[in-house]
């Protein structure tokens, strides 16, 4: 598979949204492409950083505005809302039940699988500094913290680039 990876152009995905349904779409595409031997990178920016956040640690940030934002915007892979029909949290519960009935993996399983397939999960440095987050606030699958130029340098070598 390594030889194939070198010969193939990759897939880059910008995950800007922090909702469960959009994050799932990103990970289905990422794992499918990785299974085809393509190098895949997901760049988590702004609300998308919620997907990478560790469970717990509600109060993050260096000033009161950052702390307030992170309390209100509390999230991690198991606790994300839906972009539609959230119904005060009932939507995600129902979707998760429907997904597990069809044996679709949950978001945390998708994160582990994609990491095992070599998908790179990058956190956006600028959003992190605005929100007062550090790499310690993220799950261990987070490969690195990178900037926009670094992301573009990866994206320009790829065939497929998506903004979700």
């Amino acid at each position: 598979m390594e030889a194939l990876r070198e010969a193939k152009k990759g897939v880059t995905i910008v995950l800007f949204s922090g909702e469960l349904d959009k994050a799932l779409a990103a990970f289905v595409i990422a794992t499918a492409a990785a299974s085809m031997g393509m190098p895949v990178s997901i760049f988590f920016t702004f609300w998308g950083l919620n997907v990478l956040k560790k469970k717990g640690g509600l109060i993050r940030g260096r000033n009161w505005m950052q702390r307030m934002l992170n309390v209100v915007n509390y999230g991690h892979a198991r606790r994300l809302a839906l972009s539609k029909l959230n119904m005060m949290g009932m939507g995600p519960v129902m979707l998760k039940t429907m997904m597990s009935a069809k044996r679709v993996p949950g978001l945390d399983e998708f994160i582990r699988t994609s990491s095992a397939l070599g998908v790179k999960l990058y956190a956006c440095e600028m959003s992190m500094s605005v929100m007062g987050l550090s790499k310690d606030d993220f799950i261990e699958e987070c490969s690195d913290v990178i900037g926009a130029v670094n992301y573009i340098s990866i994206a320009k070598e790829s065939d497929i680039n998506l903004f979700i």
Partner: protein, 77 residues
């Protein structure tokens, strides 16, 4: 059609894109020229796995259906 498989991957119950993911991981551990039999009941995989094989340089040897189970034979390229 009688093809002997070196390894069998039972991916029944899994749905898109997990059969392709499991197939990729299983084939990675196998030697070139070896045959993998993938069992699946996912209708998407019936179309997706042949496309997956073509774009990853592996060969589709055969595809049969019995009841809900789809048997897909792949030779590692």
């Amino acid at each position: 059609m009688k093809i002997t498989a070196d390894k069998i991957l039972d991916a029944r119950g899994l749905c898109c894109p997990m059969p392709s993911v499991k197939t990729a991981l299983t084939l990675e551990a196998m030697g070139s020229g070896e045959v993998l039999l993938v069992l699946t009941d996912d209708p998407v995989s019936k179309k997706d796995l042949p496309i997956w094989a073509e774009s990853t340089g592996n060969t589709l040897l055969g595809l049969t259906e019995e009841g809900r189970t789809i048997s897909i034979y792949l030779r590692k390229g």
